[in-house]
């Protein structure tokens, strides 16, 4: 780099190196402070009751006690909550990828009257916060007889304006000649969409899928309202708040439950961290 040429002196380079290490150290300390709550949860989930209640509060468990996980998985509804959340998040994310890619394809490749207007109609929903229309949506779901059902929880999340926008922006970068070539070969729109466009867009599809998965896995208020009267239909996030362990297991069991619920999103985050931001920022900033 140019920097090396303009800094010929070894003392300067040494200074640079110590500065480098210092910055790394500060960043590490900041990072540690940020993840303290997660580490605390992890640590507590391995503690026996006596350790959790000891004074002064213990930071590290004495050993790898797995009883809390056992309690969480056998003496609570957590497995059922996990199943509910898995079903809801998977279906929502798949449907979202479909609705977003179909609409994105329409907006990017096809010509029809009122296209711009419809596009603004889609973007306009970003200005309507979901919480404001919560009550009204609840009555729609209730009139459809979908209270306490998976479909009732999922229906609102089958579409996301942000995802449509992301797909459209991505499809606009796909060369038009590709479609023309496909058309000359007698390939119709639907086949072009399904057999050519989707396969070559798999990175964006994965981004949309993953960001939907995390956001639907983590949603709280809507499933709380829709599945309010049925414990069986609760999602993990709502269920976590209703856990009722026998007194001596309550803290450890809850922490183990929180850890179990955290694992899916944590894994997705660790694997796809960069891709999520890459995808989101092309969908938002480039406007």
């Amino acid at each position: 780099m140019i920097g090396n040429k303009t800094l010929p002196r070894t003392s300067n380079r040494k200074k640079q190196r110590t500065q480098d290490w210092l910055i790394q150290l500060i960043a590490l300390v900041c990072g540690l402070i940020i993840i303290i709550p997660v580490l605390y949860c992890l640590s507590l989930s391995f503690m026996r009751v006596s350790e959790i209640l000891s004074r002064p509060p213990k930071i590290f468990p004495g050993g790898l006690y797995l009883g809390n996980y056992e309690t969480a998985l056998t003496k609570s509804m957590i497995p059922r909550f996990l199943l509910n959340s898995m079903i809801i998040s998977l279906i929502c994310s798949i449907v979202r990828v479909l609705t977003a890619s179909l609409a994105g394809f329409g907006f990017a490749f096809l010509d029809f009257r009122g296209k711009n207007l419809l596009f603004y109609l889609v973007l306009g929903t970003m200005l309507i916060p979901g919480d404001v229309i919560l009550t009204s949506n609840y009555f729609t779901i209730s009139q459809l007889g979908l209270v306490n059902t998976y479909l009732g929880i999922m229906l609102l999340y089958f579409v996301s304006a942000n995802n449509i926008f992301m797909m459209r922006q991505h499809f606009l970068t796909v060369s038009k000649t590709l479609r023309e070539a496909a058309q000359i070969d007698g390939c119709g729109d639907l086949r072009f969409y399904g057999q050519i466009l989707l396969p070559i867009s798999s990175p964006v599809l994965v981004t949309v899928f993953i960001s939907s998965f995390i956001s639907t896995w983590n949603m709280y208020l809507w499933p709380l309202i829709v599945a309010n009267s049925s414990n069986e239909m609760r999602t993990v996030q709502v269920g976590l708040k209703t856990l009722n362990f026998a007194e001596e297991a309550s803290y450890g069991g809850t922490m183990a439950g929180a850890m179990i619920i955290l694992i899916p999103t944590l894994l997705v985050f660790l694997i796809f961290q960069r891709r999520i931001v890459g995808g989101m920022s092309t969908g938002s900033v480039k406007g």
Binding site: I34, P57, A100, G106, P129, A258, I261
Partner: protein
């Protein structure tokens, strides 16, 4: 032979075009249907119904004019909710952005351990509100939690009426800082190297570089984060529900959307719920509009 083949090929686009026109709507249909049914119709309904008296079975009883609004605006609980919401937003949003910017500048250059601390700093973005409140609830517990003990504090984080809002702010910042950090990190790294090089040759100190190069060059990302964080903070209610189990008897931690939620799902006063929802929307909308005016003047698009 070839010529005969070519003739229908030229004609095909013409008949195809009509089909394509109808086709476009077909591809948009699923998305548009959902958007209209679950965004626009409920939005219009919410505004419309806020002008009516509605009984507890959600049936329209009579036209009420502005009565719902006046009643909500005279309600001390609502006014407290507005103050809390604004307090929460006014602290959470700037602190989150400043903290995230600091982290992003710290991590800007890739170093040996970059991967490690970047992942650590971004990690809260994977943690849900529900899990976070569960953890903080125990961490901040005055009896068995480590925070008060090791920091030698004596704070009633979750029960003291005057403190709870700051606990909410603390958790809110923690939940949002990871995402803001990742966005700002990629923005800071995209600042053109030549600009920084020339500034360095001119001997500009880091503070100067931040103010006149980094911040202007990353302003689109900052603006995006400002808008999304403003919107979500103004609509915050889940933290209140999850952390203080509603605090149903007092309004010390109530926010506007929490007020709406309580009126709709606990008190069955739908008129008040719709009116407060519209007011929440108007306040948030005004704030976002204000930031768009700021954008016109300050944001620099390359």
């Amino acid at each position: 032979m070839e010529k005969q083949h070519a003739a229908p090929a030229v004609q095909q686009p013409k008949t195809g075009r009509h089909l394509k026109r109808a086709n476009g709507y077909f591809y948009l249909l699923p998305a548009l249907l959902l958007i209209v049914v679950f965004s626009y119709i409920p939005f219009i309904k919410t505004i419309f119904l806020s002008f009516f008296t509605i009984n507890s079975s959600n049936e329209v009883v009579a036209f009420a004019g502005l009565k719902n609004y006046l009643r909500v605006l005279e309600d001390q609980e609502f006014l407290n909710s507005v103050v809390n919401t604004i307090k929460y937003t006014a602290v959470t949003v700037p602190v989150t952005l400043i903290l995230a910017y600091f982290f992003a500048m710290l991590c800007c250059r890739t170093r040996r351990l970059s991967r490690v601390y970047e992942t650590m700093l971004a990690l809260p973005m994977a943690v849900s509100m529900s899990v976070a409140t569960t953890i903080f609830n125990l961490m901040l517990n005055p009896n068995i939690g480590p925070v008060n003990h090791y920091l030698h504090l004596n704070v009633e984080w979750l029960t003291d009426k005057n403190t709870v809002i700051y606990t909410l702010i603390l958790i809110g910042i923690w939940l949002h800082v990871g995402m803001a950090f990742l966005f700002l990190l990629s923005a800071v790294r995209n600042v053109p190297a030549e600009l920084l090089e020339s500034a360095r040759l001119d001997g500009a100190p880091l503070s100067r570089q931040v103010i006149s190069i980094y911040i202007p060059m990353t302003s689109p990302t900052l603006f995006y984060l400002l808008c999304t964080n403003l919107a979500s903070s103004m609509m915050m209610s889940d933290l209140v529900i999850a952390l203080t189990q509603g605090g149903t008897s007092n309004s010390s931690t109530s926010t506007i959307i929490y007020y709406m939620y309580r009126k709709a799902f606990y008190i069955y006063n739908y008129g008040a719920a719709y009116a407060s929802a519209v007011l929440a929307f108007l306040i948030a909308f005004a704030l976002i509009l204000a930031s768009f005016i700021l954008e016109k003047r300050k944001v620099h698009y390359s």
